[in-house]
Assembly symmetry: C2
Homo-oligomer: 328 residues x 2
């Protein structure tokens, strides 16, 4: 695991450098044209920042298989654009007010504009990816993978919403949901370079699994941050509890018979959220989730054995570890 | 122009035969799997029927360029699926209750499920089109064309909504809106076979323009049907008036100083709608639109000069004419 904060800073620096490249290409693709308000809505969330984790993983995966990521930069941009599209639509459904420290798109504009901004980004992703400088045969395979992942994301979001209405969710159901909603896009981010450059199925699968397991760990950790990240996460603190989201933490607490009275109550005071978090910490549910997240990262790292040693391979390992130790 | 009702029946028969093929392939792609409710929502509008105009035009265009449409059936399915996705999202934004004689998806299910059903269909279209049995180089060109059209559809829908808030819209603005919202997808339906089979730009453009002009005529006629189609259209009668939609008819009436008091009033009695339609007929605004629609169909037909004579070419001509004479 990551040794010290200097190491973490170095990883962040590596991510940031590549994120800059990603931002430049995204900006070049999302010009502010007519109808201006629509395109302001299209750019709103992307301009608000974000770590660009997925496209950066895509670039580093290309490096790890010794290929030039300049040829597949549009695919990296497409991945980030799809991620943002899903966030915009999710925020409408979840009625979330803040994201990345700014009002959500449907809050800053209106719901119709937010639906359309999401749809525009979605279409844009498939328009952009065509610009990859690779064999069209591999490109069509990559498009199929990406479209398939988008379908899974919809299924995952549907499950997430439907879980809110149900009293009891099993861990198995939870894992199916986060795999689809979150982990598959991260898996695709890591696997797409291998697909685009026509590598073996074995290599594609290993990178897919690396991303999949990392993505599961990432999502579990994200649920933890919703409870303990507070001022750092840039969105509503404890929103998962008040919205009644069935996170691994809540499922574990429920299994242990721990009652959280504000769960699913739609609103709660800061003090009430504080008390709920305290209870979840004391009963061990948060630690349980933390350990699960780490287990998945260990599984993810094992998948990288297929790769030759390289700076990029080390970086992938370190990022996976960072995903479950980060504070925001 | 179409001579008699026997001729119209024959065209309908030709369309219906091909629509059956399209339905079979769509059904094979949209199986009812888990999560079941989401996939029921995904299928809801498609199962409610519809003329399958766009995919049928796609198949006939393939015939007209002497190619086997069996190889591009997935593209035809993708076009219809994209059309349905846009309708589902549009109905949410327009708060429409009925479509094709059944409750709209957000009415039959809920808004979140409708957003996700639309997103799922959107992704599905790009997954499906990959199955076309053509050169991947041409396939990627077709995907780019389709993605680009989807962006235009979003822009067109945005313009349509934004027009409701504005007092005066020019004819030029109206035409830009319907081109993007409606005509580009019909243009793509006609041009995609030529793209997929690697035909010349000249042929692609001619078929695109045929579809574009037909699509414009189609939309103008659709606006007329909203007013005079009444029980036949399967959606709310006169909804364009009460919703304040700036159709060519309303723009013309406004230009002539004809006041429609229920315009944009969100609700009106049957009697009030009847009176409004009578006024629009008497002032000549509906006739004006009818003539414009016919002009565009004549322009469309001229584009087909590039094609050799064939049964398919004649059928394209007849369908274009039917688009502006149909009663629903």
């Amino acid at each position: 695991m990551l040794k010290n904060s200097a190491e973490v800073d170095k990883i962040k620096e590596e991510v940031k450098n590549r994120a800059k490249v990603v931002n430049t290409i995204i900006n070049s693709y999302l010009e502010l044209k007519d109808p201006k308000v629509l395109y302001r809505a299209v750019r709103h969330l992307i301009d608000a920042g974000g770590k660009r984790l997925r496209p950066v993983l895509c670039l580093i995966s290309a490096e790890a298989i010794k290929e030039d990521w300049n040829r597949i930069l549009p695919a990296a941009a497409a991945i980030e654009i799809i991620h943002n599209f899903t966030l915009i639509h999710d925020d409408i459904m979840d009625k979330d007010l803040m994201r990345r420290g700014v009002p959500t798109v449907h809050t800053a504009f209106d719901e119709s504009t937010a639906i359309l901004a999401g749809d525009t980004l979605f279409a844009k992703a498939f328009e952009i990816i065509i610009d990859c400088d690779v064999n069209p045969k591999y490109l069509t395979k990559a498009i199929k993978m990406l479209a398939d992942v988008c379908i899974r994301i919809c299924e995952g979001q549907y499950l997430d919403i439907s879980f809110e209405k149900r009293k009891y969710i099993t861990e198995k159901e939870y894992f199916e949901m986060i795999e689809k909603k979150t982990a598959h896009l991260i898996a695709a981010s890591c696997a797409l370079p291998a697909v685009l450059f026509g590598k073996s199925d074995k290599l594609v699968n290993a990178l897919w699994n690396f991303g999949l397991f990392s993505g599961i760990g990432f999502q579990i950790h994200d649920d933890i941050l919703d409870l303990i990240g507070r001022d750092k996460i840039g969105k509503d603190w404890g929103s998962d509890i008040v919205e009644g989201k069935k996170t691994l933490i809540m499922i574990k607490a429920q299994d242990m018979g721990v009652e959280i009275d504000i769960f699913g109550k739609k609103r709660a005071t800061e003090k009430e959220i504080e008390n709920a978090v305290k209870k979840l910490l004391e009963c061990g549910a948060i630690d349980y989730a933390r350990n699960k997240a780490k287990e998945f990262i260990e599984k993810a790292k094992k998948e990288l054995k297929i790769l030759e040693e390289s700076k990029a391979k080390t970086l992938l390992t370190q990022i996976a570890e960072y995903l479950v130790t980060r504070e925001y």
